[in-house]
């Protein structure tokens, strides 16, 4: 079940969130048309780290692929399909000509980071989630335009009532209950 409180302004919402956190209420989530000044519970996104790691993996993959292509390790691969390349004299340059391998590796690194960032964002937020119980409330339609909301999700009935009480205590002008 969800308890939904609508506020007029971001400041009001921020005060309510602070009070709720002081009361130790769990499952608090804010909804706002722009990114809130302070996130609930000081959430620090770990996606940048994921992107950094993906970027490094991508760069390493690019460089290893190029080396694999000209040195032909695993030549007699079991499956035959994965046979690497073989040494070829190109313009008198050495086979593993690392200066010319850098651009390819750099670009694959950036590509992997970008893709990891986007997919990570979708996965962490469990998007695409077209339907969420919270959509049932009509007022919630304002959340993406100029409405500021707090929603408290609880599983059991008693918690639901305690959340309702805490929200009323925090002075939310309109409160809605959504019971799926």
């Amino acid at each position: 079940m969800i308890v939904l409180g609508a506020f007029e302004s971001e400041a009001a919402m921020a005060r309510a969130v602070a009070r709720l956190e002081a009361d130790g209420v769990h499952g608090v989530e804010t909804y706002s048309p722009t990114s809130p000044a302070r996130s609930v519970g000081r959430l620090q996104s770990r996606l940048p780290l994921v992107m950094l790691f993906a970027g490094l993996v991508g760069a390493a993959a690019g460089l290893l692929l190029q080396i694999y292509a000209v040195t032909g390790i695993f030549t007699d691969s079991l499956w035959g399909q994965l046979g690497g390349g073989y040494p070829v004299n190109i313009g008198g340059r050495p086979n593993v000509f690392w200066p010319s391998f850098i651009p390819f590796g750099f670009e694959t690194g950036l590509l992997f980071a970008m893709v990891a960032g986007f997919l990570g964002f979708l996965l962490i937020n469990r998007l695409p989630r077209l339907y969420d119980p919270i959509d049932e409330s009509d007022a919630f339609r304002e959340a993406t335009r100029s409405g500021w909301f707090i929603a408290i999700r609880t599983a059991a009935k008693p918690n639901h009532d305690r959340a309702l009480a805490a929200l009323q205590a925090s002075g939310a002008p309109q409160i809605e209950e959504i019971l799926e």
Binding site: V88, N89, I90, G91, G92, R93, P94, F97, S100
Partner: protein, 958 residues
């Protein structure tokens, strides 16, 4: 940008083309509208609509034809091993000049012509005409069949006409019968015609050659009393003077003369000869000469007279030019080793004077010999034909048989006379104007399709064995003649029997087979004639040529086209697209004018003029030829043929009428501008201040400082990974020996299936020759020095093209070859951009697929490239692979001969294994003249050049 120590300034700026102002470039270049895509013919559009867009991409590399067929013989032909080539000797006869050749066969198909090393007129070398024989043989337009009055006919109806013709001739004992042939150097054909003459006493035999050397043979008649042939020994000439001379470009035996001429042109390989040339228009000998003097049209007779006076009588003419006295002194000083050669454009009297001078200079028996004519019956072709046309016009000719000559196109007044002949039968390898105009046309055998024989310039005889069954059931000359013989039963005489009959001396033992294999009948060269020069030869007076008074009249010189000769090769795509040695023009015969004359007349490159000589006139574009006399215009005949195959149709302008009209020529602008295709692109090409592209020096400077021409190899490299294979292929090109005759260009095109692209594509600058002969001028436009430089892939060890190919389609193999893998090429073309020598060519369109030649004429050992693929010289990798495999199987020494090296008459190319210390190529690479082209590009090329040395006469002022 590290810069290697620039080689010292050699001499002035080099430039290549004379198109000054930019708007000519825009006008000369095809207008935008006309370049709307490739003008797809209707057939091609239908073919394309049927084909779906290539989904080949999905299948990756293809899995081999699903429907490939294997067709073995029914009974295996002896000696034919599929995949291995075997060679047969024969000869190539062009206008009465025979040269021994060997033809390489694969699976029974003749595919490649090369010189016959045992034949004195070739010594292994060849010329463009011999190399291009293949496409004349496979020419699809030869399939005309028997034709009468323009309608196809058949053998029986021809037999009926011939049968009653024979009765008429037997009754009238041959009155009214005329046989007209080209210049016959074949004893068998000559004997067959004599046998016919014996059967019909009333018969007359006439001969006609358009590019005839009547003046030269009449000159010998005037000098020695009867027609003789002069056989120069150029290797013994230490001082050589050419007067409008075609000694190394067109004279009989010019391939052998080129070899002997080049033997003394490289100072590092023996004493250097000195060559003078006095000419009205540039020739190959003039370009290769040490001193080249430009003589006006009217001054040439005067010059010859002065020379005769100075050499024969020691008189010193007053008004002679400054270089005249040193020249005569040099000739006299080299007594016994001096030789003067006069080209066919000089009048008869001048020829006689030159013969007298050569005798006076003690050359007889040393620098030249005089022999009985090698032609079966030496005649004055002009007079011989005039006699025939007079008979025909007067109606005295009932039956005319024309064999292997095209008088309707190339002879004066023949067409009108032919109309009055009751029955005319023409025979030749392909349907031409004469075949079309005659009442009957009988397809003739190509030189590859019948037995014959031929005697070369020095008399050496060659038995010409057929290379294949007649492709279009052509009949040999002997067969056509036998149709008229009284005892003819229905089957034409077998040419083999005729040849064996005339060579009874070879009947014993294996002499016949030996003569066929060697391509030379042993000691059949003519003995020198025991005849003395007549005293009045030295006193003959040259009639003065009426010089053009008005500014606009010029002396018209007509010469055979270097590619089409007298017009017989008009349907040969290789010769049509062969860049002419000096003008680099293709598919056209513009009128050549000197720069000064063109400037005075306000004519620009490609503008059309109307040339009128007497009654005849022709409209043709103008082309500016630096180094030509001011008052001379050169017209090249052989173009403008009316009845010719698809290739030759509509190319060039027929200038034969001008050749036979008398009097000076007048030029009149018509205001139109025509597009003349050339491989020497339209731009003012100035190589900037240094001229290290073609390095040259005088012999004196070279003697003083032998390292004069060397220059650097490039700055040191960060990565040096030279190929490490057992063999290292390399090439050295000697610029002293290269005379720019283009034999190598046609040989390369023939060996490697290089496609011909046609005039429109050449105008788009998309020609495909893998090997091009770059021609650079140096000095003033009126009197420049010209240099030739063969340009092919350098197979650089630090190849800039390999680094930039994203598909990895061009890589270096460990034997030093820059390998171009056609099936991997995607067509980004970055490799061509990155090649400093620009030797890579791109198939912008499906050129090979749209070429007018049968698939059987292609070399099976070389991949035929599709559209969108880059191609370049591969050092004939198929020949290298063959020698590699032979070495690996049976330990034979690994040596390969590239197509250009084999074809070159002067052995300018030397190719071989650099790891072999005593090979010819290593010796040439260690010669002091050796230098790297564009060293500052740091590519370490495997092809290097030997700089050009000029042996200047000190007394002659520069």
């Amino acid at each position: 940008m590290t810069k290697t120590p620039a080689p010292r300034q050699v001499s002035g700026k080099q430039w290549r083309s004379l198109l000054e102002d930019p708007d000519t470039v825009a006008r000369q270049y095809p207008v935008l509208a006309e370049m709307i895509g490739h003008p797809a013919s209707r057939r091609r559009v239908l073919q394309v609509m049927a084909a779906s867009i290539a989904l080949g991409g999905l299948a990756g590399c293809d899995n081999g034809e699903a429907d490939g067929k294997l067709i073995p013989a029914v009974i295996a032909a002896p000696g034919i091993v599929p995949g291995r080539a075997n060679a047969y000797a024969t000869a190539n006869v062009v206008g009465g000049d025979a040269m021994g050749i060997t033809v390489a066969h694969q699976m029974g198909r003749p595919l490649k012509v090369d010189g016959n090393p045992l034949h004195p007129a070739s010594l292994g070398g060849s010329d463009a005409f011999a190399q291009a024989m293949i496409l004349d043989f496979y020419d699809p337009d030869r399939a005309a069949g028997i034709i009468t009055q323009g309608q196809p006919s058949d053998w029986p109806s021809l037999q009926r006409v011939m049968a009653d013709e024979r009765e008429r001739l037997v009754r009238s004992r041959g009155v009214g019968l005329r046989v007209l042939t080209g210049s016959v150097v074949s004893p068998t054909t000559g004997r067959t015609i004599d046998a016919l003459a014996a059967a019909y006493p009333g018969m007359r035999w006439h001969q006609w050659e358009a590019a005839s050397r009547d003046t030269v043979s009449n000159g010998t008649a005037l000098a020695y009393g009867r027609r003789l042939d002069v056989v120069p020994h150029v290797e013994r000439a230490s001082v050589l003077l050419g007067l409008d001379s075609d000694l190394i470009s067109g004279a009989p035996g010019h391939v052998r003369h080129a070899r002997d001429f080049a033997a003394h042109r490289n100072p590092t390989r023996g004493p250097m000869s000195r060559v003078y040339a006095a000419e009205r228009a540039p020739t190959l000998l003039g370009t290769a000469a040490d001193h080249r003097f430009i003589i006006g049209g009217a001054e040439m007779p005067a010059l010859v007279a002065w020379l005769a006076a100075a050499v024969l009588r020691g008189e010193q003419p007053g008004s002679a030019p400054s270089w005249f006295a040193p020249l005569v002194a040099d000739l006299k000083a080299a007594r016994g080793g001096a030789f003067i050669h006069a080209g066919p454009d000089l009048p008869v009297e001048a020829q006689a004077l030159v013969l007298a001078m050569n005798e006076a200079l003690g050359g007889r028996g040393r620098t030249f010999d005089v022999i009985e004519p090698v032609a079966y019956r030496a005649v004055d072709f002009g007079a011989d034909l005039r006699a025939l046309t007079d008979d025909m016009a007067a109606g005295r000719v009932e039956t005319l048989l024309v064999l292997d000559t095209n008088p309707v196109f190339s002879a004066p007044g023949f067409t009108e006379a032919l109309a009055r002949v009751r029955l005319s039968v023409a025979s030749g390898p392909s349907l031409d104007e004469t075949g079309d105009a005659a009442t009957w046309y009988v397809p003739g055998a190509h030189a590859f399709e019948a037995w014959s024989d031929a005697r070369a310039y020095d008399g050496t005889a060659t038995i010409m064995q057929p290379q294949a069954m007649p492709l279009f059931d052509g009949m040999s000359a002997v067969g056509v003649l036998s149709m008229l013989r009284p005892g003819f039963e229905g089957t034409p005489q077998d040419s083999l029997a005729a040849v064996r009959a005339s060579w009874t001396s070879l009947a014993r033992g294996d002499a016949w087979v030996r003569a066929l294999a060697d391509g030379v009948v042993p000691n059949s060269a003519s003995r020198p004639a025991q005849v003395a020069i007549r005293p009045e030869a030295g006193r003959s007076v040259i009639p003065s040529v009426v010089s053009g008074e008005a500014l606009v009249t010029v002396a018209l010189v007509t010469r055979p086209d270097p590619g089409l000769f007298d017009g017989r090769f008009a349907n040969n795509p290789w010769l049509q697209e062969l860049p002419r040695p000096l003008t680099k023009v293709v598919w056209d015969n513009p009128l050549l004018l000197a720069p000064g004359l063109a400037h005075r007349l306000g004519l620009r490159q490609g503008e059309e003029v109307e040339v009128t000589v007497g009654a005849a006139s022709a409209r043709l574009p103008v082309w500016i030829a630096p180094g030509q006399a001011e008052d001379v215009a050169v017209a090249l005949y052989g173009y403008g043929r009316r009845v010719v195959g698809a290739v030759g149709a509509g190319t060039g302008v027929d200038v034969y009428p001008l050749r036979y009209a008398a009097g000076p020529a007048t030029l009149r602008r018509t205001g139109r501008v025509l597009k003349v295709a050339t491989t020497d692109h339209h731009d003012v090409l100035d190589t900037g201040d240094t001229s290290d592209i073609v390095r040259h020096a005088t012999l004196a400077d070279f003697m003083r400082d032998p390292a004069l021409l060397q220059g650097g190899v490039g700055s040191p490299l960060l990565y040096r990974n030279p190929p490490s294979g057992p063999v290292a292929w390399g090439m050295s090109i000697d610029l002293n020996s290269c005379i720019g005759c283009n034999a190598c260009v046609v040989a390369c095109t023939a060996e490697n299936n290089v496609p011909v692209v046609g005039k429109t594509a050449v105008l788009h600058q998309r020609e495909m020759h893998w090997l091009r002969i770059d021609r650079y001028f140096e000095g003033p436009a009126e009197k420049p020095e010209a240099y030739f430089q063969p340009m092919l892939c350098m197979h650089c060890e630090e190849a800039p093209c390999e680094v930039v190919c994203p598909f990895g389609a061009t890589v270096h193999d460990q034997e030093g070859l820059n390998v171009m893998v056609y099936n991997r090429c995607g067509g980004t073309r970055f490799c061509s951009n990155n090649c400093p020598y620009k030797v890579r060519r791109f198939n912008y369109g499906p050129y090979a697929a749209e070429e007018a030649r049968p698939v059987e004429s292609r070399n099976p050992d070389v991949t035929v490239r599709s559209r969108g693929v880059m191609e370049k010289c591969t050092f004939c990798v198929q020949k290298i692979a063959a020698t590699r495999i032979a070495h690996d199987i049976s330990g034979v020494a690994e040596e390969a001969v590239t197509a250009c090296q084999a074809a070159c008459p002067t052995q300018a190319f030397s190719f071989g294994n650099l790891n072999e210390p005593d090979s010819e190529v290593v010796r040439r690479k260690h010669s002091p003249l050796n230098y790297v082209l564009l060293p500052e590009q740091n590519t370490r090329p495997r092809v290097t050049y030997e700089g050009r040395i000029r042996n200047l006469n000190a007394e002659i002022p520069a």
